[in-house]
């Protein structure tokens, strides 16, 4: 078995030399599919494509699997205390369950070992070229793709290979999104993005301002409450802070019980509000702003501890930032606070730096592709993006079914091209479709999907593919 640093070898039989448009040599990889990234979504794409009989080359810029969940990777956003926010049945791949004896909400190191076992169990490492990054992906005629790669860090020559199809699984939680504030450049304190936050020792004894009430922001605020000398938590609006357990069971499982019974959204919202009111209580009594939206309209925040620490006075909730001064921060309500460290947990933006944005339908170049099922690209039937989702559950099940759909679609193209063409029309018609209820407009919610709605849509697409 190859070790993780040993690149795999392409099958020499299928390699024939062709010439690229600019005369560079291109090795033709025949029907092989290229997968970009060996994180969770990339691994499941490799596994499902191989299972459907395709040859697969996967390029991974790091030297191990697990992508964002491998804390050794320089683009990994995880910090020492990261735990899952969706419980086990929501997070595992549907055909490779996590061990029964694991906790309901596993730690990120367990998740990494899960991906490593997944890769070994299905013998995926032989498809992966580690330490290789993708520089360019260009369409060539006949729906084929030229993929140019080089060693991570830019050493060594570039090489170009031609593939029958490409799966982009490069993740979307690594390119930090930093908001602009007036006077931030003059601010003398320390400023960091949550992506470089690794360990609570970074907060110890400091006066810390945490910006953002996503799940990361809340986690960091909770750690600051225990480590820092003071902690302010700045949020744009009021949010619903859902506990991780309700009625003695993981909260997401209780919620899915209602979904399984097909309880309508309004009733679910009412029940949710009731439950929160009875358990967490009215948050305005702590000075937290009242949420300006109903639940299910923003990405859920699962954090039992935030409210607990607010109640103990360890976290001071504050509104949005107005501007920075050299030694203080002015808030929108006119107050001035003097943090030493500002942590921006303001999220990430997707980036496909190796691909022309127009191909994914991102005409304005803002980084928001226009896809069907958040995966299939109109007019490019042999290109797919997987894992570009913000589900209210774990992402991996969804990425698994995306990969299955794409693998079946590719197989259909080979066996019944006329039916695949009909499906391509469906992709064009459905581009940009949303799979969630109404959500607040924010880059946070670009890829927001309700996992039940989304999986049902995927299921319909799979049926359509089989039946037509």
């Amino acid at each position: 078995m190859p070790t993780s640093t040993e690149p795999g070898q392409p099958d020499p039989e299928t390699t024939t030399l062709a010439r690229g448009p600019d005369g560079r040599p291109v090795s033709d990889r025949g029907d092989t599919v290229c997968v970009i990234g060996a994180g969770a979504s990339g691994l499941t794409a490799v596994k499902n494509l191989a299972e459907h009989g395709f040859g697969v080359d996967c390029y991974e810029r790091e030297t191990g699997v697990g992508g964002a969940w491998n804390w050794r990777h320089d683009r990994s956003p995880v910090y020492a205390s990261t735990h899952l926010i969706s419980s086990r049945p929501f997070t595992q791949f549907p055909d490779f369950p996590m061990p029964d004896h694991w906790p309901d909400y596993p730690h990120h190191s367990q998740l990494l070992s899960y991906f490593e076992r997944y890769a070994d169990h299905f013998d995926l490492r032989r498809h992966i070229w580690f330490g290789t990054e993708v520089v360019r992906v260009e369409p060539v005629g006949d729906d084929r793709w030229d993929v140019t790669t080089r060693s991570t860090g830019g050493y060594g020559p570039e090489r170009t290979s031609r593939y029958a199809a490409v799966v982009i699984a490069n993740g979307h939680n690594w390119s930090p999104k930093l908001p602009r504030y007036e006077g931030l450049e003059q601010f003398r304190g320390e400023v960091m993005h949550a992506s470089s936050y690794k360990d609570s020792a970074q907060l110890r004894g400091k006066r810390v301002l945490v910006v953002g009430a996503g799940n990361t922001g809340c986690d960091i605020a909770v750690e600051a409450a225990q480590q820092a000398s003071r902690c302010w938590h700045s949020t744009r609006r009021g949010y619903w802070y859902a506990p991780k357990y309700v009625f003695g069971r993981p909260a997401d499982q209780v919620n899915d019980m209602l979904l399984a019974l097909r309880v309508p959204l309004r009733v679910r919202q009412w029940l949710y509000h009731r439950t929160l009111r009875l358990t967490v209580g009215d948050l305005t009594r702590f000075g937290l702003p009242k949420p300006d939206h109903r639940v299910y309209e923003t990405h859920p925040i699962a954090n039992s501890l935030l409210v607990y620490h607010v109640g103990h006075g360890a976290i001071a909730p504050v509104p949005d930032i107005e501007r920075f001064h050299p030694h203080s921060v002015e808030l929108t309500d006119g107050r001035q606070i003097d943090p030493e460290l500002v942590v921006f947990a303001t999220g990430y933006l997707p980036r496909f730096e190796f691909l022309d944005g127009k191909i994914l339908g991102d005409d304005e170049g803002v980084g928001r592709p226009r896809l069907w099922l958040n995966a299939l690209v109109p007019d490019h039937p042999t290109l797919a993006v997987t894992g570009l989702l913000q589900p209210d559950s774990g992402i991996f099940t969804l990425a698994h079914w995306q990969a299955v759909l794409f693998a079946r679609l590719l197989r259909l193209r080979a066996n019944r091209p006329e039916r695949a063409a009909a499906f391509a029309a469906r992709v064009r018609a459905g581009a940009g479709e949303r799979y969630s209820g109404q959500v607040k407009d924010s880059t946070r919610h670009w890829f927001e999907v309700g996992h039940a709605d989304y999986l049902r849509a995927l299921e319909r697409a799979l049926r359509e593919l089989e039946s037509k």
Binding site: F96, P99, D100, R117, H121, L259, A260, S393
Partner: protein, 267 residues
Amino acid sequence: MRSWEWARPVRPVRREVLSAVPELEEGRPPLLFVPGFGHGAWAYAENWLGHVAARGFSAHAVSLRGHGGSDPAPEATLRAYAHDVVQVAAGLPRRAVLVGHGAGALVVAHAMARYPARAAVLVAPVLGGWATFGTAVRRNPLGTLPAVFGAGLRLNRKQLFSGELPDADARRHAARLGRAARRAQWQLLTGADPEPAVGEPPVLVLGSPDDRVVPASALTQAARRYGSAPLLFPGMGHDMMLDARWREPIDAILDWLVKDPSRDDRG
């Protein structure tokens, strides 16, 4: 979408897994044996596990919940049993071959929809349905009929073993039989058909025409469902892994695996 898998995951239990590993790892797929109702992992440990390991495959046998050395589970369903199998299979270092015997074959068929097995082997499969029930009632009315009302399904020695097995051994094995959960037994008759298998695993069906639990017609039907014909071993009882000539079927299974059936359909 499997809503209930999300909302009501199967309750975890402690499971007994007996293993026999070859001295030298040869990169062959591991085998996971699933016993039928009433049986535990012990049924395989008796003869087959050691033999499989001697031929260079690592062999594991799980006791479904409520059986053998696993935790009791009186309310278990087929879904919980399939969960047990998938859990153990996913815990093995490589993609496993699932081998199910009797009603364990039905459990394997369900598990195959949840786990892309490398291959599957159904030994004297009881895939449920009324024909099997009819046979069982005719052969052993006293053991079968009470099961309809929730009592344990009892199989007698004549059903399980051929005459060649020494009586003392037959008695010893029969004394170790337990029972499956009430709801799982009913699901043999009324349960839904297994969902289609994921990952297109090749499937081998084998049994005996002289089996007094599974009629030969049921074997043919089971094999046809997976697009093949059954491999027959005349003169053996239902419990092929305990019977006197236990060596023949397991050798046939291993020979089939050595040929690597998964290569055929990949071209």
